[in-house]
C-alpha cells in the first residue's frame, strides 16, 4: 500500500440530462479509516456510490467526468462485478440476503467452495459439487469476526432484523482482497444496542486496514465512529473535516446549510394545559407481532403533546395500533370520559381519533392515487364528508376536495406539482405530510402519530415536526407521538413515556437527565426521579 489513499475520486461531475447531480466532488479515503459520508437526501451520496460501483445507470446515462483512483491507480469501474473484483464491497440498506438460504449459503452465494467431480471435468466448473464443510467453516469464521453468536446453519427467514445486518457484513468480510467497504445506512433498522455493536465491528474491521465509507443520517453515530467526514450538499462538496475538529452542531449546519436549524430544537412555548383527561388507558394489552403490549396504564390530558419512546420491538408502536383497532387489543380505554370499544377501527375514527401510521407506504397511502384523493379518502369513508347528492348515490365533491387539498398543500408545505400528482412519486417527507393532511381531514380531536420522521431527511423531519407542534400549540390538538428518536421526542413533547418489554417503564420530562432515559429504555426506573 504505497498510495496514501485507498480510494480517491477526483473532481467528479455527473449530469443526468441537463440536471447536474454532482458538481466537482472529491472524496479521499485512507486505508483503514472510517470515513463518514453525510448529506441530505438528494445531496448526491447515492450517485457517488453508483459511480464507485459502476452501476449500469451511470453508464447508460453518459458516464461521468473526473478521475477514480484505487491505491493511486486510475481505474474505471465497469460493472458491480468489476467493483467486487477490485475489492470494493457494499453492505446494503435493503438486505441482499436470500430468506430461504442458511447463513452459510448466503455468505458464500456465488462464491461457493466446490470440488471437481467426473461430470464437472467435462461440462465445466458450474457442475462442481459444493463443499459444505469448508463453506461452513468460512462462514463461522466470518460470523465470529462480526461478533454474533448464531449457528451458521440458521435460515435467514425468521431471524431478527438486526442479525441480518451482521450477516451482510460477514459476507463482505469473507470476500478475499476486500479493501473498501461501503455501509449504506446500516443502523437504520437496528436497535440502539445493535447499533453500538455494529460500530464496534466497524472499528474492528477498520483496524485490519480495510477502509469504510459510512453513509448515515445519524450524526451522533458519526461522532462515535468516524475518523474523517465528507459532507455533500446539493451535489457539491460542502466540507471535509477530521472528527476532532468538528461538532454535532457544525456537521448539522454544514449538511443543511441553513444555520443551526439542522438540529431539531423547537422552543417549548408556554401554553395552557387543560386538566381534562382526553384518553384514559387501563391495563391495555395489544397483540401486535413484534410490538406487543402487556398491560399499560396511561392518562393523556387534553391539549397535551405526549411522546412515546423506547427501543424497537419493545411495544411502543403497539399503543396507537391497539387503540385504533388495527391489532387485537383488550383492556379498558375511556375517551373523554366515555368508554371506547376496542378492536373496532371505525368507531375509533368516528369519535375523532385519527392516526398517522408508521407504515405510510403500506397502510397510510394509496400510492397510485392522487394526493387530493389520499387526503380526503378516510374523511369520505368515515364521516361522509366531501360528498354531494342524495344518500343512496353520493358522489365525490370534486370542488370541495380540490379546495381542501389545496389548502392542506399550502398549510403543510407539501412539495408537489399539483393536487393530482400520485403520492407514490413524492419524497418520503412529503408523503408523510400527505398522511398528516389525511388525518386532519377527519377533523380529529385526538391524533396519534407513529414514527413520523422515519426514513426522511433532516430538512423534511424538521418541517413535519414543526407542523405537529403548530397543530398542538395553535389548534389545541391533543397529540401522542411515537418515535424511535429520543432527541426528537425531547425537543417537541410535554411528557415522554418510555415503553420497555411491553410496559411503561417511566414517564419523564423532556429535560430529565440522559441517565433516566437510559435506565427507562432498559426497563428500569431511575430511583428518586432525577437522582441519577
Amino acid at each position: 500500500m504505497s498510495a496514501e489513499y485507498v480510494l480517491e475520486m477526483r473532481n467528479i461531475t455527473k449530469e443526468y440530462g441537463q440536471n447536474a447531480v454532482l458538481k466537482n466532488v472529491t472524496l479521499r479515503v485512507k486505508p483503514g479509516e472510517i470515513h463518514a459520508l453525510l448529506g441530505e437526501n438528494g445531496a448526491g451520496k447515492s450517485t457517488l456510490m453508483n459511480i464507485l460501483f459502476g452501476m449500469p445507470v451511470i453508464h447508460t446515462t453518459g458516464g461521468y467526468q473526473g478521475e477514480l483512483l484505487l491505491d493511486g491507480e486510475t481505474t474505471r469501474i465497469l460493472s458491480p462485478q468489476h467493483a467486487m473484483q477490485q475489492g470494493i464491497g457494499m453492505v446494503h440498506q435493503e438486505f441482499m440476503l436470500i430468506p430461504g438460504f442458511t447463513i452459510t449459503e448466503n455468505i458464500k452465494l456465488n462464491r461457493e467452495i466446490s470440488k471437481p467431480n467426473i461430470v464437472s471435468r467435462i461440462l465445466g466448473e458450474d457442475l462442481e459439487s459444493l463443499d459444505m464443510e469448508a463453506m461452513r467453516a468460512d462462514a463461522r469464521k466470518a460470523l465470529g469476526s462480526v461478533g454474533i453468536a448464531i449457528s451458521e446453519d440458521t435460515k435467514i427467514k425468521g431471524m431478527p432484523v438486526g442479525y441480518m445486518q451482521f450477516v451482510e457484513i460477514a459476507r463482505e468480510i469473507d470476500k478475499s482482497g476486500i479493501r473498501l467497504l461501503v455501509f449504506d445506512e446500516p443502523t437504520a433498522v437496528l436497535t440502539e444496542s445493535e447499533a453500538n455493536q455494529l460500530i464496534a465491528v466497524m472499528k474492528d474491521i477498520a483496524s485490519r486496514n480495510i477502509a469504510i465509507i459510512f453513509i448515515t443520517h445519524r450524526l451522533d453515530e458519526v461522532m462515535q465512529a468516524a475518523d474523517t467526514i465528507t459532507i455533500l450538499r446539493d451535489g457539491k462538496l460542502a466540507a471535509v473535516r477530521e472528527k476532532k475538529d468538528t461538532s454535532l452542531v457544525e456537521m448539522a449546519s454544514l449538511m443543511i446549510g441553513r444555520g443551526d436549524e439542522g438540529v431539531i430544537a423547537i422552543d417549548a412555548q408556554a401554553k395552557t394545559q387543560k386538566e381534562q383527561i382526553a384518553l384514559k388507558v387501563r391495563d391495555l394489552h395489544v397483540d401486535m407481532p413484534g410490538e406487543a403490549l402487556h398491560g399499560i396504564d396511561i392518562d393523556v390530558r387534553e391539549g397535551e403533546f405526549l411522546g412515546i419512546g423506547g427501543l424497537a420491538g419493545q411495544g411502543k408502536v403497539g399503543l396507537p395500533n391497539g387503540i385504533m383497532g388495527l391489532y387485537p387489543a383488550r383492556g379498558e380505554v375511556e375517551f373523554f370520559g366515555e368508554p371506547l370499544p376496542l378492536n373496532d377501527a371505525k368507531s375509533s375514527l368516528k369519535r375523532g381519533i385519527a392516526m398517522v401510521s408508521e407504515d405510510r407506504r403500506g397502510v397510510g397511502l394509496l400510492l397510485d392515487q392522487p394526493i387530493e384523493d389520499n387526503i380526503v379518502f378516510n374523511a369520505m369513508q368515515v364521516n361522509g364528508d366531501f360528498l354531494v347528492g342524495p344518500k343512496f348515490m353520493q358522489l365525490r365533491n370534486g370542488k370541495q376536495v380540490r379546495a381542501f387539498a389545496t389548502k392542506m398543500i399550502k398549510e403543510l408545505d407539501i412539495r408537489c406539482q399539483s393536487p393530482t400528482q400520485h403520492t407514490g412519486t413524492l419524497s418520503g417527507g412529503n408523503q408523510q405530510k400527505v398522511c398528516v393532511a389525511s388525518a386532519l381531514a377527519l377533523n380529529p380531536k385526538f391524533l396519534f402519530v407513529s414514527e413520523p420522521t422515519r426514513g426522511i431527511d433532516i430538512g423534511a423531519k424538521h418541517l413535519v415536526l414543526e407542523t405537529l407542534v403548530r397543530l398542538n400549540r395553535e389548534m389545541g390538538l391533543t397529540i401522542v407521538m411515537v418515535s424511535s428518536e429520543l432527541m426528537e421526542l425531547r425537543s417537541v413533547c410535554d411528557r415522554i413515556a418510555i415503553v420497555a418489554e411491553g410496559k411503561i417503564a417511566d414517564i419523564l420530562e423532556p429535560n430529565s437527565s440522559d441517565a433516566s432515559y437510559g435506565l427507562a429504555m432498559s426497563g428500569l426506573k431511575a430511583e428518586g426521579g432525577e437522582a441519577l
Binding site: 441482499m96 440476503l97 438460504f101 457442475l127 433498522v189 410490538e291 408502536v317 408508521e358 403500506g362
Partner: protein, 423 residues
C-alpha cells in the same frame, strides 16, 4: 407451559401442512371414493396405473428444475415433446428399429430441444413473473409452427417415405404406427421386464444389503439403516396377504424405464448440490439478491428451461414407445397440462417442488384418470360425467394452484409490511 407450547407448535404444524397439501388430500379422498365406486377389480386398476406411471413419470419430473429456479410450471415442455416427435418421425422414416432407433431419436431430440429451450428461456426472461401463463401460451403458439412443419415442410421440402405421409396428399400422416416392422413399440420397456414380486424382492434385497454395507462403512446412521430395513420387511410381509398379492399379480415392471426415472430423481437431487444448483435456488428465491451477488440471472434461467425441455423430450419418447402409436398432431397437446396438474396434485406449488411431490402427484392424478369413467357411469349413470369431471379437475387444479400462489404471495407481502412497520 413447555408442554402447551409444544402442543401449540404441533397444532400449528398440522395446520400448515393441511394448508399446503390441501389439494393432495382432496385428491386422496376423491381417489378412494372413485376407486370404491368404479367397480373395477384392483388387479386391473394397479395394472393400468403402473403402465401410466411408466409413461408419464419422467415428464412430470422434468418440471422440477424450472420450478426451483423460480420460473413456475414450465408448460412449454410441450415444445420439448414436439422436438422428440420430430426425432421419432425421422427415425421411423429412416427405418431404424429397436432400442437403437429410440437412442437415435433421443440424440436428435437433444440439440432440437436445447435450441427450443434457449428460445423459450430467452422469451420467458422478458416476461418475468408471468412464466407459467407465458409458457402455456407459448405451447399453443408452437403448436401452429409444428403443424406448418409437419404439414408443409416435411413431405414438400424434405422428402419423406410414403409410409409416413398422408395418403394422396402432402405432409405427415395423422397416425404413425410404432408396431410391427417399425419395431419401436416398447423398445425400451421391453428390454427387461420383471414381475411385481421379482421387483419387490429385488428392491428389498438391495435395500437390506445396501443398508448393512453402509452401516459397516459407517456412512449412515444406525436408526436410518434399521428404519430402511424394517420398512422393506413390512412391504414384503404385507405382500404375503393374498388380496394384496392377487391384485398386484398382473403387473409387469419395465426395469430400464424405471431405472431411468430413478436416475432423473437422483439428477434432480444431485444438481442442487452443485454450483449450478445453488444458482437455480438463489435465482428462484430472489432475482435481485442473486443479481447483486454477481449471478447472471438470465443465463441461469435459460439453462433451467433448456434442461427441462430436453428432459421433457426424452420423457415424450418414453411415453410414445410405451403407447405404440404417435398421434402426430395431438400427442404433444396435453403433455404440459397433464404433467403440470399431476405435480400440483402432489402438493408442489408455483415456487416449490420435489421428486416426492412429483411421484405422489402422478400416482393420485392417474388413479383418478383410470377410474373416473367407470365411477361416473356407476354414480351418475353416464361415463361422460366422469370424463367431464377429469378435465374439470385438470384445469381446476392448475387454477387453484395459481390462485393459492397469488394469495400466499399477498399474505407474505402483508407480513413483510408488518415486519417493516415493526422496524
Amino acid at each position: 407451559m413447555g408442554d402447551r407450547d409444544l402442543l401449540r407448535r404441533a397444532g400449528h404444524r398440522v395446520k400448515e401442512n393441511a394448508r399446503e397439501y390441501v389439494v393432495t388430500y382432496i385428491f386422496l379422498v376423491l381417489s378412494i371414493i372413485f376407486v370404491a365406486y368404479s367397480g373395477r377389480p384392483m388387479t386391473d386398476i394397479f395394472y393400468q396405473l403402473m403402465s401410466r406411471l411408466t409413461r408419464n413419470l419422467f415428464i412430470v419430473l422434468a418440471l422440477i428444475i424450472p420450478i426451483v429456479a423460480g420460473m413456475g410450471i414450465n408448460f412449454a415442455i410441450t415444445i420439448g415433446a414436439m422436438a422428440a416427435q420430430i426425432g421419432l418421425l425421422l427415425v421411423i422414416n429412416w427405418g431404424v428399429t429397436g432400442i437403437g432407433g429410440l437412442l437415435l431419436a433421443a440424440a436428435i431430440t437433444v440439440p432440437l430441444a436445447a435450441g427450443f429451450g434457449f428460445l423459450i428461456g430467452s422469451l420467458l426472461n422478458k416476461m418475468k413473473g408471468q412464466e407459467t401463463i407465458g409458457s402455456m401460451i407459448l405451447g399453443f403458439f408452437a403448436n401452429g409452427a409444428y403443424q406448418l412443419l409437419f404439414l408443409f415442410v416435411f413431405g414438400k421440402l424434405i422428402p419423406l417415405n410414403e409410409s409416413v405421409t398422408i395418403v394422396g396428399g402432402t405432409g405427415v400422416a395423422n397416425t404413425l404406427n410404432l408396431t410391427g416392422s417399425v419395431g419401436l413399440l416398447s423398445a425400451l420397456d421391453g428390454l427387461w421386464r420383471v414381475t411385481f414380486s421379482q421387483a419387490l424382492y429385488g428392491i428389498t434385497l438391495f435395500a437390506v444389503l445396501g443398508s448393512v454395507l453402509l452401516l459397516i462403512l459407517k456412512k449412515i446412521q444406525r436408526v436410518k439403516a434399521f428404519v430402511t430395513i424394517g420398512m422393506a420387511l413390512v412391504f414384503v410381509i404385507v405382500y404375503q396377504i393374498p388380496v394384496v398379492n392377487h391384485s398386484l399379480q398382473n403387473i409387469n415392471i419395465p426395469v430400464i424405464t424405471f431405472l431411468l426415472i430413478a436416475l432423473l430423481c437422483l439428477f434432480n437431487v444431485v444438481i442442487m448440490r452443485t454450483r449450478l444448483g445453488q444458482k437455480f435456488r438463489a435465482v428462484g428465491q430472489s432475482r435481485v439478491v442473486a443479481n447483486a451477488a454477481g449471478i447472471n440471472v438470465n443465463r441461469v434461467r435459460i439453462i433451467a428451461i433448456m434442461i427441462s425441455t430436453i428432459l421433457a423430450g426424452w420423457g415424450q419418447i418414453i411415453f410414445i414407445q410405451n403407447l405404440g402409436t404417435l398421434q402426430t398432431y395431438a400427442a404433444h397437446e396435453m403433455v404440459g397440462l397433464y404433467a403440470g396438474a399431476a405435480i400440483l396434485v402432489g402438493g408442489a406449488s408455483i415456487d416449490r417442488a420435489t421428486n416426492g411431490q412429483a411421484i405422489i402427484g402422478c400416482i393420485l392424478f392417474h388413479t383418478l384418470f383410470v377410474v373416473a369413467q367407470d365411477a361416473g357411469s356407476n354414480l351418475f349413470g353416464d361415463p361422460n360425467i366422469g370424463e367431464y369431471f377429469r378435465v374439470f379437475l385438470c384445469y381446476g387444479v392448475i387454477a387453484l394452484a395459481l390462485v393459492m400462489y397469488a394469495w400466499r404471495g399477498n399474505s407474505a407481502k402483508k407480513a413483510a409490511a408488518r415486519e417493516h412497520a415493526r422496524g
